[in-house]
Amino acid sequence: MGRLSWQPATVTDAFAETPQVRTLELDVTGWTGHLPGQHVDVRLTADDGYQAARSYSIASAPEEKGPRLTVERIDAGEVSPYLVDELRTGDRIEVRGPIGGFFVWHAGLGGPVLLLAGGAGIVPLAAMLRHRVASGSDAAVRLIYSSRSLGEVIYREELDRLATHEGVDVVHTLTREQPAGWRGFGRRVDRELLAEAAWPASSSPLTYVCGPTAFVEKVAGSLVQLGYDPRTIRTERFGPTGR
């Protein structure tokens, strides 16, 4: 492993996931592959030379073409509005990565695996789920995914397809607005929801929690209250907004 350096990347595809969220497929010079859960830094350079860099999780499985990034527009943000609204197929940006070895799951680690996502926190966890299926792993994986409304669920149809695989469960909770006849959960992920929908602590799952800071704090704290070993819980926080 060498030191990290910036590489040119070309956008080979770009498509909306929800009105606020877009996926970018990149062709990165010298890309050597990645592990599910890793991220990249993206750097933009303005005409006057001003540069801004941000970190974004890799959405794709290592087995897929890519890497793909899924980015949520933060209206006050300096980078994400450009990535979501302006960037076009054929445009070039700079990336460095893959980065990080801590918030990573791959088939070799086995299962069971518990994935807990709040909003755009689904992105690195979806990479793990895609890898679980694409690699032919038989690890039992359960995803509990909290969104505000059905329209804000990222990768909804793909998650439905992934959930048809043996050993893969996807549980949704919609915290603000539930459609008529909704059969999933309709509240925030708390201790009671986890007691009902997650595996018992006795099954000792590898647990990954990703989302806004408040979501991660609440979920990780509840898991510890339920008897989960804190050392089996890996978290990735990315800031505020309650979901």
């Binding site: 999780s57 980078v79 070895g101 801590f102 890996r234 926080r237 800031g239």
Partner: protein
């Protein structure tokens, strides 16, 4: 990870948010390195520390006693790594032993 989300509100992230800046200067993967807090003795992986990325540099604090463990500041042409809050860091390396030498870094 989506670091544009850190522009307001709660700025506490996890140590894995510092992975990029650490990978600029360390050849080994840092986020899975173990650390010992010199103040309270807690042993944690870098990825599990508390990270503050909105300061002029990146600050990593102990999740148990809040002591500052590491500070990483990028300047023009140099990067400062202050580790005075740590007793030690432990990195995974290839097991030494009989081999063809192909493992040599």
């Amino acid at each position: 990870m989506d670091s544009d989300l850190t522009l307001d509100g709660n700025l506490t992230l996890d140590g894995n948010a510092a992975a990029g800046v650490l990978a600029e200067v360390f050849v080994s993967e840092c986020t899975t390195a173990m650390t010992r807090c010199d103040a309270c003795g807690a042993v944690e992986m870098v990825g599990a520390l508390k990270a503050y990325v909105q300061a002029p540099g990146t600050v990593l604090r102990c999740r148990h006693c809040e002591s500052v463990l590491m500070r990483v500041v990028r300047g023009a042409g140099s990067c400062w790594v202050d580790v005075r809050g740590l007793t030690w860091m432990q990195f995974s390396v290839a097991t030494p032993g009989r081999s063809s030498g192909a493992d040599a870094v």
